[in-house]
């Protein structure tokens, strides 16, 4: 029979023109067929709506890259999603508060025990005990106890708190006559201990480092003061080095620069005395570096005394021998993280900024220039360097650009901004506090003139802000310490006094407030449908989810329909034993609780979109197989009557030429229904935890909603994916229904 | 005595692109015991007309106009016609007359009372003015649809008017036993024991020639002819005064057709019921009808006694229709089928609906709808040229 066919075909092989005509005819037939189909289809309003919805989703899927508000993997910055926990106390309003300090009695873990507020002008001091409590949002937060008031000398210009054994305060008051200053020392309970006279009115003071290190179990405290021409240094010893129970502070020695003028804070490097400690003094002539001599106990190696030794090196302000204008002032020099020599090793440079925005670094040991750089801040044309600070990994540069503040992490090896010039942020105003490095999740804390406390990562990405309610802060935000419970660090606490004169104590272990409801957030981002628990923008996720959804829906349906059609065709064409067996199998498939079995498959093969597609196809072909079989049976009867059979057409030819065209519309029809089913099925599998964790699908969005425990309180997250699933599934279903009327005219009248 | 009078009935169907004017102004009447045949090509509105009588129209059917009087006493009918003539096109005058009669009736009733002839007359007049015997009036809603489950019409159904349906093959509910369906009809209207009803069903089966014990069979266990007989049995269940048989023989083979026709004839003879037999097959009506109405495109073309219509055919359509069927009587006639197709009833032709297919059509035919032309008493043709043509048509026939 086959040979017959071939011969016949050959004999009648059409020439090109005929072929062309034939193809035009075929095309016309197809076009008119399409037109007729569309004319009938169009009558179904819901069908047209369904088509429109599918088309809309298709557009979304294709254009999501450009039209979605954010990238597929976008997460809202923590600045939007995180709210620090805080507690507040109103302070007397007639006092000009200057500072918030955290107090501890233990040098080892430095748990935050008390918070002290102090006014330079009035000398007023209030101390509040603080404990861990329940936060505003039910999280672990902070509780402020009842205050005790002390009066310290007023007019103090320098006051800090030393984390030292039986801790002390130093209050430095410029004496009334203006000649000298006095350093006053108090103990932890605010009892006056003693005072030291400083032989000038200090303009600058060094970094106050307390030399606690694992090697020397206790602390060591050294502090240098300077005016325009003098440097004066004191040294505090642990008690057992002097007399047990009595603390001591000794004056060390002083330097005088009769010709040069000191222009910035002296810098003490290598605070734990292991790598050759130094005192760097910035003068108008250049940086002068002195070695510090440590006297140690012979057995314990404890530092007994510190004294300023010889000039090690000095350098003038030049870059490649060209002079430059240094940025002078309180924090003009920086050595990377003077407290932690281990991390500073190999990066032992002293950096200084220039007024034209350059940075220069000098070798700490030799004083030679190691590098200079002009930091590039993408998107920022001009900026000024104000201060330099240090952290274990970076030199922190603080500056301004226009009205805004600027903070950047500078690589101490190159002077460039880390992360390929990306580790920087602009903030709402000038920084009014030192960026304090805090171990833990959030690396830096600083505040601005506007009173906002910023939390930034090591990469200088702002990931949370805290604005003390009731106006901007009047004091710089300061790190207070940690509160420990059962040996675990539970949070870093910060203090600030706002414009209305209230003390705020806040903890960085605050609350992730995501999922965020729709709205605009501190980062300036607008989340039209809110975010999920991790800060993913819901609208973006829904838009990108369309892709996976269409992919899964269409391909799962396609494969299932292909299987179903083949089974149906074969069963219909060979209605004997083969057909009977196939139909039995179909019946069995139909009575399988397919969703339940799908779960088993998904558990077995692992969650991936591909597996879901295959599983769906394998388990849901039965319905269509039945329909195709009955269509095949009827058309087959007709086809037998047709000349085709008589003239000796083969079975395959019969199937493709005659039965195929009758079957295709049904195949297509059921495919639309199947797509609708596959979309919902994917969602269900995903929701039950068998979805592809690497794909964004609507089902996964809802699963995440469920497992993150927000199913009851985040309607902006609950509704969109579900609505999308319903809409898309419904749309395909409606197309199916409308197309059903085309295929089955019997239905049209309805 | 007139049993049923259909007056200017108009039934349209609402469909997607407009209205199907299935029946567009049909009038006829049937006397007690009389059999009327309603013939016409398929789709001309015969079934629709029948369904309007029993109010079985599908939900998109609307009564656009007309009245159907059933069992109207002759005197009421006379008064009604009198009033219709007198108060034509003046609803106000009718209203006045109505209140006048009402007042008078009140007065006279009080004065004389009882069933004095004068009271009777006034009552009849009132009924005539109110169209009290109009079946449509009982059920018609404002939009022309019918409240077709109302008590009045339900009481008339099957007790007074029953039907033998066009698709009698499927007229029985497949999930109930045939006998039970007959019993259901009987017990619905008559307060009898079920056993009595069953006995009646068996008798009916016997009457129509089915073994009585088949009443416990399901419809699918019956052959086509048996179902048709059972249908007749069902139609007779409550001894109605009027039976409509819609294409009673259409789906049957020729032998069964003959048997069923014989059955119907027997009915007429034995039970003296009035019947309306609807068919597209002229030969059927020829055999059993006293009177014939020929329908085309929702309109009556010709109506009259069977002999009048057959012999003195006065309408070109009737002539064509008769020509297209071989006579049962065996007279040799030429088979002339009418050229063309019946019109689309959504937009039927203007004027005489038959004009696109009529060989005698003139300009007038396209413009004016023909009035009835009385050829001889009781014989009316709706053709402009009926008077001229009937001689000729008869000749052709």
């Amino acid at each position: 029979m086959k040979t017959n066919d071939a011969v016949e075909d050959k004999a009648k092989r059409p020439d090109a023109k005929e072929l062309q005509e034939a193809s035009i005819k075929t095309f016309q037939r197809l076009a008119s067929g399409f037109f007729v189909t569309w004319k009938i289809y169009r009558r179904s309003f819901t069908g047209v709506v369904g088509l429109g919805i599918v088309f809309g989703f298709f557009l979304i899927a294709v254009t999501a890259q450009w039209t979605a508000p954010y990238d597929a993997d976008f997460k809202a910055p923590a600045i939007d999603t995180f709210i620090a926990d805080y507690a507040s106390r109103d302070l007397p309003t007639d006092v000009n508060w200057s500072k918030v300090i955290g107090l501890t009695s233990s040098i080892k873990e430095r748990p935050l025990e008390r918070v002290m507020v102090y006014s330079f002008e009035e000398g007023q001091t209030i101390v509040y005990p603080v404990t861990r409590g329940i936060g505003e949002l039910g999280e672990i937060g902070i509780e402020i106890g009842s205050p005790t008031t002390y009066v310290l000398p007023s007019g103090a210009e320098y006051l800090d708190y030393a984390h030292f054994y039986r801790s002390f305060f130093f209050a430095l008051c410029p004496c009334e006559d203006g000649s000298n200053a006095t350093l006053m020392e108090y103990n932890y309970d605010f009892a006056y201990l003693r005072e030291h006279e400083v032989p000038f009115v200090p303009l600058y003071h060094s970094n106050l480092w307390n030399g606690f290190s694992p090697l020397y179990q206790e602390g060591r405290l050294a502090l240098a003061f300077a005016d325009e021409h003098n440097v004066w240094m004191i040294n505090k010893r642990p008690p057992e080095i002097t007399e047990p129970g009595i603390d001591s502070v000794t004056f060390t020695n002083s330097l005088t620069f009769p010709n040069a003028t000191i222009v910035g804070n002296p810098l003490v490097v290598d605070g734990d005395f292991t790598n050759g400690s130094m005192l760097l003094v910035p003068t108008d002539e250049g940086i002068k570096a002195y070695s510090l001599v440590l006297t140690r106990a012979s057995l314990t190696l404890r530092v007994l005394d510190i004294s300023i030794d010889k000039l090690e090196w000095e350098t003038n302000y030049t870059i490649d021998d060209e002079p430059f204008e240094p940025v002078t002032g309180n924090n003009m020099l920086k050595f990377p993280y003077p407290y932690s020599p281990t991390t500073a090793l190999g990066k032992e440079v002293v950096a200084v900024g220039s007024t034209d925005g350059r940075l220069v670094a000098f070798d700490r040991v030799s004083g030679n220039q190691t590098w200079w750089s002009k930091p590039i801040l993408p998107g920022i044309r001009e900026f000024d360097i104000l201060d330099l600070y240090s952290s274990p990994d970076y030199i922190v540069m603080v500056g301004t650009t226009g009205e805004k503040g600027l903070i950047a992490s500078i690589d101490p090896d190159t002077g460039r901004i880390g992360g390929n010039n990306s580790y920087f942020s602009t903030v709402d105003s000038y920084l009014n506090s030192e960026p304090q490095y805090v171990r833990g999740q959030y690396r830096y804390v600083f505040s601005t003139d506007m009173g906002t406390i910023y939390l930034a990562t090591n990469e200088m990405k702002v990931n949370a802000t805290f604005s003390a309610p009731g106006g901007g802060a009047v004091t710089p935000a300061s790190f207070l310490g940690n509160i420990y419970i059962e040996g675990s660090r539970t949070g870093n606490y910060f203090g600030v006094i706002n414009a209305e004169g209230a003390l705020f104590v806040e903890t960085l272990t605050g609350v992730n407030i995501a999922p965020l409801p729709p709205g605009t957030y501190p980062s300036g981002n607008y989340y039209p449908l809110g975010t999920d628990y991790e800060g993913h923008d819901i609208l973006t996720q829904v838009m990108f989810g369309t892709r996976a959804e269409l992919l899964v829906g269409v391909s799962a349906a396609f494969f299932s329909v292909v299987i179903g059609t083949i089974v149906g065709l074969v069963a219909g064409f060979y209605p004997g034993l083969v057909g009977e067996l196939l139909m039995r199998a179909t019946d069995v498939m139909l009575s399988l609780p397919y969703l339940v079995i799908m779960l088993l498959f998904a558990a077995a093969f692992g969650p991936s979109l591909f597996n879901i597609i295959i599983i769906f196809a394998i388990l849901s072909w039965a319905g269509i197989a039945r329909v195709i079989r009955s269509v095949t049976l009827t058309t087959r009867k007709r086809a037998f009557v047709d000349a085709a059979r008589v003239s000796g057409a083969s079975d395959t030819r019969l199937i493709f030429r005659h039965i195929g065209p009758n079957v295709i519309p049904y195949t297509f029809l059921y495919m639309t229904f199947m797509i609708s089913g596959a979309i919902v099925t994917e969602a269900i599998l995903a929701f039950l935890g068998f979805g592809d964790p690497n794909a964004i699908t609507w089902g996964m969005m809802l699963q995440f909603l469920q497992i993150s425990g927000h199913s009851l309180d985040a309607p902006w997250w609950l509704l969109p994916p579900g609505i999308a699933i319903t809409l898309l599934s419904l749309a395909f279903y409606l197309i199916g229904r409308a197309f059903d009327e085309v295929v089955n005219p019997r239905l049209r009248r309805r | 005595m007139v049993l049923l009078e259909v007056d200017d009935l108009k039934v349209h169907f609402e469909i997607q692109d407009g209205w199907v004017k299935a029946v567009d102004g049909v009038s006829f009447s049937i006397d007690s015991g009389e059999t009327m045949g309603l013939v016409g090509e398929s789709g001309c509105g015969k079934t629709t007309a029948a369904y309007a009588i029993t109010q079985l129209l599908p939900p998109n059917g609307r009564i656009i106009g007309g009245r159907i009087f059933f069992k109207e006493p002759p005197r009421v009918a006379a008064y009604r016609k009198e009033y219709d003539e007198k108060l034509k096109e003046s609803p106000k005058a009718r209203q006045r007359e109505l209140s006048r009669v009402k007042r008078k009736l009140d007065r006279v009733d009080q004065a004389i009372g009882g069933s004095a002839p004068e009271v009777e007359e006034l009552k009849d007049r009132l009924a005539a003015l109110n169209y009290s015997f109009d079946l449509i009036g009982l059920s018609k809603r404002k939009d022309g649809s019918l409240d077709d489950y109302n008590e009045e019409i339900r009481k008339i159904r099957w007790t007074q008017i029953s039907m033998i349906f066009q698709g009698a093959m499927n007229a029985f509910n497949p999930v109930f036993k045939v006998g039970d369906q007959i019993v259901e009809a009987i017990t619905l209207h008559e307060d009898v024991e079920e056993s009595v009803a069953r006995e009646r069903a068996r008798e009916l089966f016997e009457f129509v020639g089915i073994a009585p014990d088949r009443i416990d069979n399901y419809p699918h266990e019956f052959s086509g002819g048996m179902k048709q007989r059972a249908m007749i049995a069902l139609a007779l269940a409550l001894n109605p005064s009027f039976i409509i048989a819609d294409e009673p023989t259409t789906a049957l083979d020729v032998i069964t057709q003959d048997r069923i026709l014989a059955e119907i004839k027997r009915l007429q003879e034995q039970l003296k019921m009035a019947m309306m037999i609807i068919t597209h097959d002229v030969s059927v009506v020829a055999e059993v009808s006293d009177k014939i109405g020929v329908m085309y495109a929702g309109l009556i073309m010709e109506i009259g006694q069977a002999s009048q219509v057959f012999k003195n055919t006065a309408h070109p359509y009737t002539a064509g229709l008769l020509g297209s069927f071989p006579s049962i009587k065996g007279e040799k006639r030429r088979l002339v089928s009418i050229p063309g197709f019946p019109p689309d009833l959504v937009s039927p032709p203007t004027g005489c609906p038959f004009h696109p297919r009529c060989q005698y059509a003139q300009k007038r035919c396209r413009e004016e709808r023909p009035e009835g032309v009385t050829i001889e008493p009781g014989h009316v043709s709706y053709c402009h040229f009926a008077n001229k043509l009937w001689e000729k048509l008869r000749r052709t026939a």
């Binding site: 069995v588 139909l590 079995i597 039950l688 579900g722 | 007790t159 698709g167 509910n173």
Partner: protein
Amino acid sequence: MAGMSRYVAVRSIQTFITLLIILTLIFIMFEALPAKPQDLLATTPNMQPSQIEYMVSLFGYDRPLSERYLSYMVNMLTFDFGISFSQAEPVSEILSERIPRTMLLFGGATVLAYLVGIYLGALIAWRRGGVLDGSSVVISLVFYNMPSFWIGLIFLVVFASELEWFPLTGWYDPTDNLPYVIDILWHVCLPMIVLLLLSLAGTVLLMRTAMLDVIGENYMVTAKAIGLPESKVLFKHGARNAMLPVVTSFIIAFVFSIGGAVVLENVFSFPGMGALYIDALFQLDFPVAQATLYIITLMVLLGNFAADLIYGYLDPRVRI
């Protein structure tokens, strides 16, 4: 009625054969899983050595495939499911607690869905073209295409969390101070309503289509013509026939509904078989997963068998 009993016999045999095939399929699926029960047994912390030994001998994990298959089939058909890997308790005990719950939820919802759906679908079709028809069809279509868990979550939010009409989760809560049965019904209510609505949507659509077919049938005209009141025409003659294709598709509805029950049990933390099944899958608790799947399939098959009997009763044409 001889026809009927033959019909019942044929259908029972068919159902039993289907059950055997499905059991075999389940066996194959579990055999195909990458995790092997022996390995799981070796690592399960809860089970006593004696229990492990029992399980190995019961299911013959160490014997060849054919023997494993045989003992599996025998065990399943005799409802001897062995011991749960994760809970070290007899599976039948765990199941016997869960089955009635799921039966209540799933059975109740399905039966109600059918009763209400047939009624509503018939009514809607009867009033076709009206506001009732349009809105019901749209609502049904929407429900039909909604993911079950999502509508479950929404109901949970609205009726349990916000309005607090129903409890959030569970099966029975002694602190409610309600009689045992009432409290259970109260807990079952919400998931059952959701499942009901979901199943209802399909049934209503199906019934409507079937009814529309029936409305055009001649016997409907006959029923009206003999003077029956509307309700009798609609329900006795119309719905009665329209039900037939709906009952035929019972199996599809069952399959749909049991899927819905499994999902909803998870949404509502309803301790039924669905929740058990998912847990078992996650914990690779083979005996439990196997038994649950089997019982669920059995429930579907028996439900379908019942539907077939009802169909045979409803349609005289099939009882031959």
